[in-house]
């Protein structure tokens, strides 16, 4: 049918691509390719091509200085015997297991507390959000001072209530925990906002009828709020987890991976191997292993949420 007829009928028919592509459709297509060209060009050069190049690199012993040689899976075999790599894996798993669940609980808790229409709520939400604006470096520098064992605010406040605080970043048993505190401080504000949006999507009548049926606060939460927030929690947990596995800035600035490699993260090790020792082939293999680990955890997360109503 002709363009004018189709439009007159108000149909949403794609009048440009019926019966082969019309001249108008071809023109539109040409323009579309021009429109997406800059973004797609950059995408292919800096995302797609690098992914393939990374696979190839991980099977070589490229180190910038000498010629690249194909070594097959040797880098991966080396990783199996690389103690430092396993230490960094342990470190990051420790960090993820502490930071992600705690982050979810705190941001959800904050969102629930601040989900009222009282005056001043907006200010509180802004206050909790502000740490999100800081860079990893700036937050690390500020907390380096706060966590100073002698004069830092944290230990001074603890001293006021009679506790002798640990040496935080100088103690290998508390260093990673300190980093968890810093990243939680930075990050809960953002997830709180996401949870606030999720909470506001829960219809009020659900709570009303629950109260009529005699439910208490905990039951309302466990049977209404938590299940209705499944998609939000899924989103928050995936984003949090993928980010947590790639921790770098704080570990680099606050502790340089120490003390005694207690805070050396996988990405830190990859950076060191690839850009300080210039062993780019080996580092690419490390990066791929991390990628697979993140993928595995993400798939488990997806599988756990498979029955939720959002699919």
């Amino acid at each position: 049918m002709r363009v004018s007829e189709a439009l007159a009928k108000g149909s949403k028919v794609d009048v440009y691509h019926k019966k082969g592509i019309s001249r108008l459709g071809r023109h539109q297509e040409r323009m579309a390719y021009i429109f997406i060209a800059p973004a797609m060009l950059l995408f292919f050069i800096f995302v797609v091509y690098p992914i393939f190049k990374a696979v190839i690199l991980s099977c070589t012993n490229y180190d910038i200085i000498s010629r690249s040689e194909w070594v097959g899976l040797e880098n991966y075999k080396r990783l199996l015997h690389d103690n430092l790599f396993f230490i960094t894996l342990k470190n990051i798993l420790y960090y993820v297991s502490m930071a992600v669940p705690t982050g979810i609980v705190i941001s959800l808790g904050l969102a629930m507390i601040l989900n009222r229409k009282k005056p001043g709520m907006k200010t509180f939400r802004a206050i909790y959000y502000i740490p999100m604006l800081t860079s990893g470096v700036a937050a690390s520098v500020v907390w380096l001072w706060l966590l100073n064992p002698e004069y830092g605010l944290v230990n001074q406040l603890l001293r006021n209530i009679g506790i002798i605080g640990p040496t935080w970043l100088a103690d290998s048993s508390t260093a990673m925990f300190a980093i968890v505190i810093v990243t939680l401080w930075q990050g809960v504000g953002g997830n709180m906002i996401i949870y606030l949006a999720g909470l506001q999507g829960i219809p009020g009548y659900l709570y009303e009828s629950a109260v009529l049926d005699g439910a208490n606060r905990w039951q309302s939460f466990w049977h209404i709020t938590w299940p209705m927030l499944r998609p939000t929690t899924f989103f928050v947990s995936i984003i949090l987890m993928i980010g947590a596995f790639q921790l770098f800035d704080q570990a680099y600035v606050m502790t340089e991976g120490g003390p005694a490699n207690a805070t050396k993260t996988v990405v830190y090790y990859i950076y060191e191997t690839g850009f300080e020792e210039l062993k780019m082939g080996y580092a690419s293999a490390q990066a791929f292993v991390l990628f697979m680990i993140i993928l595995a955890f993400s798939l488990v997360n997806i599988w756990i949420n498979r029955e939720s109503s959002m699919w």
Binding site: F43, I130, A138, S140, V141, Q156, I193, V267, A287
Partner: protein
């Protein structure tokens, strides 16, 4: 929550003797700006400020323009390969950056005909150590295209259809009709892109090794590494590093919060 900010601000304006005291000195009776002066003198902090500003702003301009152009095309135009390409874009957002880091560095270094490179890309430094090494990889991010496409999808097709019938060219339809309608999304995108560009650290330390090209975050880290116990200037540096984002936030608060909520819902 904001106590760390208050405390670092206070430390940055206290005299050194007042910084290292027990008990806690909440309100200093005398203040000084010497730490701010020393942080700008000991390291070229002003230069770093400029570097970060330039790179972050260029990133914003590039993302805003190329991202909305591509997002518009995915949302409002029809072309072969549309769905496949968009799915690729989405999938790429799940790939951790660390995988792409090393190859991207090599691509920038061996870019033909740039920075002393011949046509095969060898001999020189390519884009390494230039602003472009930081700007180019993120210049039209998948996130920007995704965000703009979602927003363009909410706009009615009729606007473009009627313009097309009148004989209006495709770019004019985009630029004069649809682009002005997406200002809220552009504001959100601008803010997030600027924040990402201003705060980034790992990528700049990889591609920038000339101290003159360092970003403000690199300068702050270098300072804290070299002057571990100079907490006064360190805090002054961190205040200067955080201040632009704070100012931006106060000015455009609702866009920050809207943007985060939007990404959560979509």
């Amino acid at each position: 929550m904001v106590l760390p900010f208050y405390w670092s601000l206070m430390t940055s304006i206290k005299y050194n003797e007042d910084i290292f005291t027990y008990p806690i000195n909440w309100f200093p009776t005398r203040i000084t700006f010497e730490h701010y002066i020393s942080v700008f003198i000991i390291i070229p902090f002003a230069r770093y400020f400029w570097n970060s500003s330039f790179m972050a702003s260029m990133g914003v301009l590039a993302n805003l323009f190329f991202g909305s152009l591509a997002g518009y095309a995915f949302a409002k135009l029809r072309f072969r390969g549309q769905n496949g390409l968009f799915k690729m874009l989405l999938a790429s957002m799940m790939v951790p950056g660390v995988v792409v880091m090393i190859p991207a560095f090599l691509i920038l270094k061996n870019f033909p005909l740039v920075g002393g490179n011949n046509i095969f890309g060898s001999g020189g430094r390519g884009f390494i150590n230039t602003y472009w090494a930081v700007i180019l990889p993120g210049a039209a991010g998948a996130f920007a295209v995704f965000l703009m496409r979602q927003f363009f999808l909410t706009l009615p097709n009729e606007l473009g259809e009627s313009a097309r019938i009148e004989g209006c060219g495709e770019f004019r339809i985009f630029w004069d009709i649809y682009f002005p309608l997406v200002k809220p999304a552009l504001a959100v995108l601008a803010i997030f892109t600027f924040q990402a560009g201003w705060n980034q650290f790992l990528w700049p330390i990889i591609v920038l090794n000339d101290p003159k090209m360092s970003t403000i975050q690199m300068g702050l880290q270098a300072f804290s590494y070299a002057h571990r116990a100079d907490y006064g200037p360190m805090m002054a540096g961190s205040v200067v590093a955080i201040l632009p984002m704070l100012v931006l936030f106060i000015y455009a608060q609702k866009y920050f919060l809207k943007g985060i909520a939007f990404s959560g819902i979509k």
